[in-house]
């Protein structure tokens, strides 16, 4: 049975319309994984000697144990945002003689083989071997390593429990932030010292190998809980929930001020507000806006002036990146309608452009308080905002004409919690790194003000040639019209 499931997925991947694109992304992810593997391997090999050097009197194993709490917390948050439960289209299987139990076990089992679970091994195993070489008792070290691996799996399954609960809420990432932040704070202010509790626990397991049963039991409980959750979702009616909320129709008359693009603006605003997936990109805006607070209060970053522009582009452009990268896939469900209707493609695209440009302006204005950390930050943000409006909006619209991946807004596929994973962030890289590279180059060659000016000039050029650029972009969309219709017609 597992073999059949695997072959189904194999076919889904290779026969999908966006195969070329996803292969490219997979290759990129491959390199990224290699990078992380190298990092972890380095950590695993270097940890013992480094700890010995920094704390000559301490036992490296005990020190590692006392830091495990932070690793668990960090891993949990990281996974929440980047690891998604494997998606499988189960509807066709429901009426076939396949036991539901098997489907669920397969999906959960597959998740255990996630890259996120292998990564820690690259640190754990070398460190464990170092310990054994340094004459630590072999059995105890092996059990300690086993306990760590079990904890990795606990995090894996615990994360899916959190995701399955938070995916139904609008502010899906709020619970994890609150829980992780709360635990960290309790620990930080010494109210409850979790890192000691966790550390003591691992010390106990190391000293008394039989205690490894405790984490294994926790793992079993997590697995069973996940199993129950997923089994419930394996019925059609959980996808076709009868609970239909009454709709608040709003007329959005004010969009009329935008002239002939008003109908599309209304449609886009409704699109954003009425679909879970798009709505979450609105909440991301809050994160983007506060992003600067991670950096600017720290004195180290005060001197990294070339870095300001990165935060500027990110915090003023977060909506642009999040929303823009899926143009026109947001409309993929009814793309045929748009193509056969009496519409001007240019108006359709202009509405998206206006939305993104306005979002940049609003985010810039909301970010003005950053001036508290220095006027240079404001200047860099201003330059970044102009660059976003003049260059990045056009780039992302142009990129959209290569978009061949359908988005199913109704999201009825079981196991599909948020629909976006690490891949979503990759697309932001050229949009962020290019201006940062340019800025850094001019910053080191000439100076801060000139570097800002360069970005502003580029942005202004983009704005001046807006009409011309839009004509070219529209033509690109028209050229790939048939391909897009065809791709958006396919399910995967």
């Amino acid at each position: 049975m597992i073999k059949r499931f695997l072959s189904l997925e194999w076919k889904a991947f290779f026969r999908s319309a966006s195969f070329g694109k996803s292969l490219g992304i997979k290759i990129f992810m491959g390199f990224l994984s290699l990078y992380f593997i190298a990092m972890f391997l380095g950590m695993g090999l270097g940890l013992y000697p480094v700890l010995k050097k920094v704390y000559p009197d301490g036992d490296p194993l005990l020190i590692v144990n006392s830091f495990l709490f932070f690793w668990i917390l960090g891993d949990l948050v990281f996974r929440f945002f980047f690891q998604k439960l494997p998606v499988m289209s189960v509807k066709p299987l429901l009426t076939l003689p396949v036991k539901r139990r098997k489907v669920v076990n397969y999906v959960l089992g597959k998740s255990a083989f996630s890259f996120f679970n292998f990564l820690p091994l690259f640190a754990i195993i070398p460190f464990g071997i170092t310990l054994m070489v340094k004459d630590y008792p072999v059995t105890n070290v092996l059990v300690w390593m086993l306990a760590l691996i079990v904890v990795v799996l606990i995090i894996n399954f615990f994360n899916f429990i959190i995701e399955s609960f938070s995916s139904e809420k609008e502010l899906s990432f709020l619970p994890i932030i609150v829980v992780a932040g709360g635990l960290y704070a309790l620990n930080h202010f010494n109210i409850i010292s979790f890192n000691e509790i966790v550390g003591d626990g691992f010390n106990a397991i190391y000293n008394n190998p039989l205690l490894v049963v405790v984490p294994i039991l926790i793992l079993v409980v997590c697995y069973i809980f996940n199993f129950k959750l997923l089994r419930q979702k394996l019925f059609l009616d959980s996808g076709l929930k009868t609970k239909i909320k009454e709709v608040n129709a709003s007329n959005l008359e004010w969009t009329k001020n935008f002239g002939d693009i008003a109908p599309f603006m209304q449609l886009d605003l409704k699109l954003i507000w009425r679909n879970k997936r798009t709505k979450s990109s609105v909440w991301m805006v809050a994160i983007g806006l506060l992003y600067g607070l991670f950096f600017y209060p720290q004195p180290i970053y005060q001197n990294l002036e070339w870095f300001f522009v990165f935060i500027g582009v990110f915090s003023t452009g977060i909506f642009l990146i999040n929303f823009g990268q899926f143009i026109p896939a947001w409309d993929s469900g009814y793309y045929k309608l748009l193509m056969s209707q009496n519409i001007k493609y240019e108006q359709y695209l202009k509405s998206k452009f206006t939305l993104m440009a306005v979002s940049v302006l609003i985010l810039f204005v909301l970010g003005i308080p950053y001036v508290f950390f220095g006027w240079k930050i404001l200047l860099a943000h201003f330059a970044a905002a102009i660059y976003n409006i003049g260059v990045n909006t056009h780039v992302i619209l142009l990129g959209g004409s290569f978009n061949r991946k359908k988005i199913d807004l109704s999201q009825k596929a079981a196991f599909n919690y948020q629909g976006t994973g690490a891949v979503q962030w990759l697309i932001g890289i050229p949009l962020l790194l290019l201006p940062m590279g340019l800025f850094a180059a001019f910053y080191f060659l000439i100076g801060f003000e000139i570097a800002c000016l360069v970005l502003i000039i580029l942005g202004v050029i983009g704005i001046v040639f807006h009409q011309k650029l839009m004509k070219t972009i529209t033509q690109k969309y028209l050229d790939s019209k048939y391909k897009m219709i065809d791709a958006f017609d396919q399910d995967n």
Binding site: V247, A249, K336, Q341, L409, I485
Partner: protein, 231 residues
Amino acid sequence: MITTSNLSKKYSGNQVLNIETLEIPKGQSFGLVGNNGAGKTTYFSLLLDLIQPTTGHINSHGVQVNESEDWKPFTSAFIDESFLIGYLTPEEYFYFIGELRGQNKADVDSLVSQFEDFFHGEILGQKKYLRDLSKGNQKKAGIVAALIGNPEVIILDEPFANLDPTTQIRLKNIIKELAEKQGVTVLISSHDLMHVTDVCERIVVLEKGEVVKDLATSAATLKELEAHFAN
């Protein structure tokens, strides 16, 4: 007048449509029948420029559809659910289509109100999104949306499928009324021979992408079609 000449469509060497010549005069109610894979939806998709013809072209009221977009103002269609916007309420959807076709809200309201019977109280004022309606109700909304803005060419793919018997009968009346109107060309495809002979003046049978019969509807047409498909 819709003129089709030398039209063919191939998918990787496989011919799915090949129509040498087909003329549909303005104002005709035109029915397209054929088994699965006969090329009905392909023909409609070509007519709406959703796919590219391999050879030949379709000319609609003097506009070659794959060259110019000027056919769009006078053409409307409902092919399948992908013509609906799931996160709008039916009213909002009608207004959106109306706006694209140069109709204000009052125009749309007065047109839609004629179809209250057809909607059977399940579409308007329900405060539900289209995606939450049943398949049949979605279809009703889609068909009516295709009538907004006084189109001269109306294309409906399988309009009778998925509808309950009452609605099927009401839909037949709507189509008959449209056909009586001067200058409105209605193109319908259907698997239901009875319905299609009821509402269409002319019926074309497609088989493996080719026109095999072209009949002006008469009392004998239904028998003839049944005999054709029985073999």
